[in-house]
């Protein structure tokens, strides 16, 4: 597979000082590449800097040394070319569902009619077209997550950053959303970086999995062998179980 490099991280160092002025090193010398239209998951123990890494790529956090390039350009600040879904409930409770989905487009000053069309399309994609005029308080946690996903896709970023987006959901809702995401992703093919603790989730969704260790380095990169589209036969198949066993060794 000869693909273009989308994101390149070279010699990344990230050091920060706590309030007690203690020096914390997150990354010493991190290197990796992510190709265009690739779905990559980051897994690893808690506190290994996966979220920090995503924030750096989103442009929300500065880094100390090294290069973080997107399309060959260094990342300095957040931008509409990258979209991010957070673990926490981040959608705006004072906006109706449809107005939330339009948010990014509104910020980019796209005219009312066009953004309403786009928003409707993505609401349909996540199956919430009937809830367009609801306030978020009237939706379940899983539905709010769908709104967040629709918001991000409606803004048409070319890179998608997802920080444990389904971490707080129950298993059934989670599976539902993974399948939905997989479907949408298949259609839109955005380069995606996905942080998760869930091995099944990582295997089900990704093309490659970066396994981080306690020292905040990438211990192993796993190529996921399943073809797409993936459904129940992949999730509950023997092969996924085998892969899960292999992955699990890194956590023991």
């Amino acid at each position: 597979m000869e693909s273009k490099i989308k994101i390149k991280v070279e010699g990344l160092c990230k050091v920060f000082f706590s309030e007690q002025n203690e020096k914390n090193t997150v990354f010493v010398n991190l290197n990796f590449k992510v190709y265009e239209e690739e779905f990559v998951s980051f897994i690893g123990p808690s506190g290994c800097g996966k979220t920090t890494l995503l924030n750096i790529i989103a442009g929300l956090e500065p880094y100390t040394e090294g290069k973080v390039l997107i399309n060959g350009h260094p990342i300095t600040k957040p931008g509409a070319d990258r979209g991010m879904v957070f673990q926490e409930d981040a959608i705006f409770p004072w906006r109706k569902v449809i107005d939330n989905v339009e948010y990014g487009l509104e910020m980019r000053k796209i005219d009312k009619q066009e953004r309403s069309l786009i928003a409707k399309k993505y609401l349909e994609l996540v199956g919430l077209e009937e809830f367009a005029n609801y306030y978020p308080k009237e939706l379940s946690g899983g539905m709010r997550k769908r709104v967040a996903i629709a918001m991000v896709f409606a803004n048409n970023p070319d890179t998608l950053l997802m920080d444990e987006p389904f971490g707080s959901l129950d298993y059934v809702t989670k599976v539902d959303l993974q399948e939905e995401l997989s479907k949408i992703w298949q259609k839109e093919r955005k380069t995606t970086l996905f942080v998760t603790h869930d091995l099944e989730e990582a295997l089900f969704l990704s093309d490659r999995i970066f396994v981080f260790d306690k020292n905040n380095t990438i211990a192993e990169i796993i190529e996921v062998p399943f073809s797409r589209p993936r459904g129940e036969e992949v999730r509950n198949g023997q092969e996924l179980l085998e892969q899960k066993k292999l992955l699990w060794r890194h956590f023991q």
Partner: protein
Amino acid sequence: MNIKKGFKLNPIRIMGILSLLIIWQIASKIIDDSTILPSIVAVMKTIPDLATFGGKELGGFEEPSYYGAFIVLSRNSLITFARLLGGTLFGIFAGISAALLIWWDEVIRRFIEPLVLTLRNLPPLALLPLFMIWFGGWEMGNILFIAFSVGVMIVINSVTAIRNLPPVQIRFAKVFGASRGQILRTVIIPGIIPELAGGVRVVLGMAWAITLGAEFLAVQSGIGRILIFSMNYLATGRMIIILLIFMIYAYLTFLLFSKFVNYLTRWMPNRE
């Protein structure tokens, strides 16, 4: 009493109010001194006297009458309302603006914050004499005084409200490429409204007190002035009427404000 739910007349409440009136009536009979506590009937009989407030030059009537009392009360109520509303709105606007500036710029924050923290410790009425010297009998002086007292409290309230916003919402706006101005307009301002509403509710009560205080001391009109004027003439009956009117006004402003806030925060999950 929960103001939000509105005031419904149920038997227990009616009995509460009635027993208060009965106690009043009995107490006035026992005391038997209309300067200390006139009876209910005696209070009602003093209503026409309100017509003469202010004398001719200030729009009062020469002879007591119900009609004149109504006109005098209405006019002075309007004056008081105008002061209260003008001062409060101006204060809220200035207070929120200052808080937003503090959020916007670190230098401004360092400049304004100690100022606000110092001024907060000053009882508002202590400043009134100073404002009287600065602005004299000028109407703007009253409004500025009310605005200032309200503003100091609102700044503190808004700064806290901004600080309490979930950081993830601001980050979310940032990843959509929102500018600082856009974040201010689409996240900060709508996000602080619920907490701010609680602060404004408290401030509203205080604003009534401050407005009356200013009228006691600094001006020749308004229902606060009528109250002090009545006290000077030992007209206890009239004072009680003003107090009753004042209670109704304060209650109505809270009711209206609650309705308005409930509309603004219709997106909030129910807390009860």
